[in-house]
Symmetry: C2
């Protein structure tokens, strides 16, 4: 019988996929090299040679998925609404999709009881995401100002980040955010707050 060996991308992809499955089902604490090797149908040395810890493998596997499923980056979003309300809706819908691509399960996996060093890695990821969030929202505000819906675009970052953080929270606790919930957030919280913050009369 002729034996077949996977290598390169094919093998790596199988390892990442196995890694993600373990992460989703059992979490980071259950992610060990031997388990990954078995799940990926390869042998331990293959894993041990390439990664130095289950944590770094986990990061690599998740980043791989983000890269694969990247439906366009958040800050490259082309806004098409004709109102602040519509733009916000478009942006946040997209945010939800991206988060789901990131994977419900990993989100809280990575807010695990981790070492300080590991936490720094995660912190960096959050900071990067935050910068993108703010720049996306700035776009929305700028367009609203141009339409005359808002007096200025000046407001605190806390306020700009509010919807993203609200959505992430709901992802953390594994709650679904329906379109209805999202619309309510926009109409009942965001728009009134923006108008208030920028001194825009209704």
């Amino acid at each position: 019988m002729v034996q077949k060996r996977r290598r390169g991308t094919e093998l790596t992809e199988a390892i990442y996929q196995a890694t993600r499955e373990i992460l989703e089902n059992d979490g980071l604490s259950a992610l060990t090299f031997p388990k990954v090797a078995t799940a990926a149908g390869t042998s331990k040395p293959v894993i041990y040679r390439r990664w130095d810890s289950p944590f770094s493998l986990a990061i690599a596997a998740v980043q791989d998925k983000i890269k694969l499923e990247n439906h366009g980056r958040m800050d490259e979003l082309k806004l098409t609404g004709t109102s602040l309300r519509a733009d916000l809706s478009q942006l946040l819908q997209r945010f939800i999709i991206s988060m789901n691509a990131f994977g419900q399960s990993y989100t809280n996996t990575f807010f695990n009881g981790m070492s300080k060093q590991q936490n720094e890695v995660i912190q960096k990821m959050i900071d990067e995401a935050t910068a993108i969030d703010i720049s996306a929202l700035n776009q929305v505000l700028k367009r609203a100002k141009e339409r005359g819906e808002l007096a200025t675009t000046e407001m605190s970052n806390d306020l700009k980040l509010l919807p993203f953080e609200w959505l992430r929270y709901h992802l953390f606790v594994n709650e679904n955010v329906s379109r209805v919930n999202l619309t309510a957030l926009i109409d009942d919280v965001l728009i009134p707050s923006y108008q208030h913050a920028t001194g825009t009369p209704k």
Copy 2:
């Protein structure tokens, strides 16, 4: 040499304390019975006899701390403000204190990559907390209505839960919430949203 043995509450407390220290320093994944035994200065069988998994020990240890440090339950809070703004501030300050009592560290420890079953346990804790949050906020709203600050107290639970979720999110990602941030949330988001939701003119 006469040997001394701890039992009952004294021993249990030592075990819980050791458990919490491990949780804070190294997270849930590092919490093993042998480590707890050593840290608590007792022997493994003592632990193995009483708990059936590190997870259930962790839950017990954290609940023990909540019980110990319970500065009065959230829904028994006696509001003393003379405005919606002041009441909100009082409630949310208290919420932050309680969360800190719960322990910065455990919060994300328990949003770890856990098994489905473990997640259910956590889910139940969240649901209970949510009920308390809503009832506390209802109090605040009721008082505001009585003062004439709000037209009604009718609004969605999503809106009522917003500040708690916002605060929890910041705890998750280990960001500090200063009094300034909190005040901005109240003035720039909550009050405008409440007024908007209840049709209250400014």
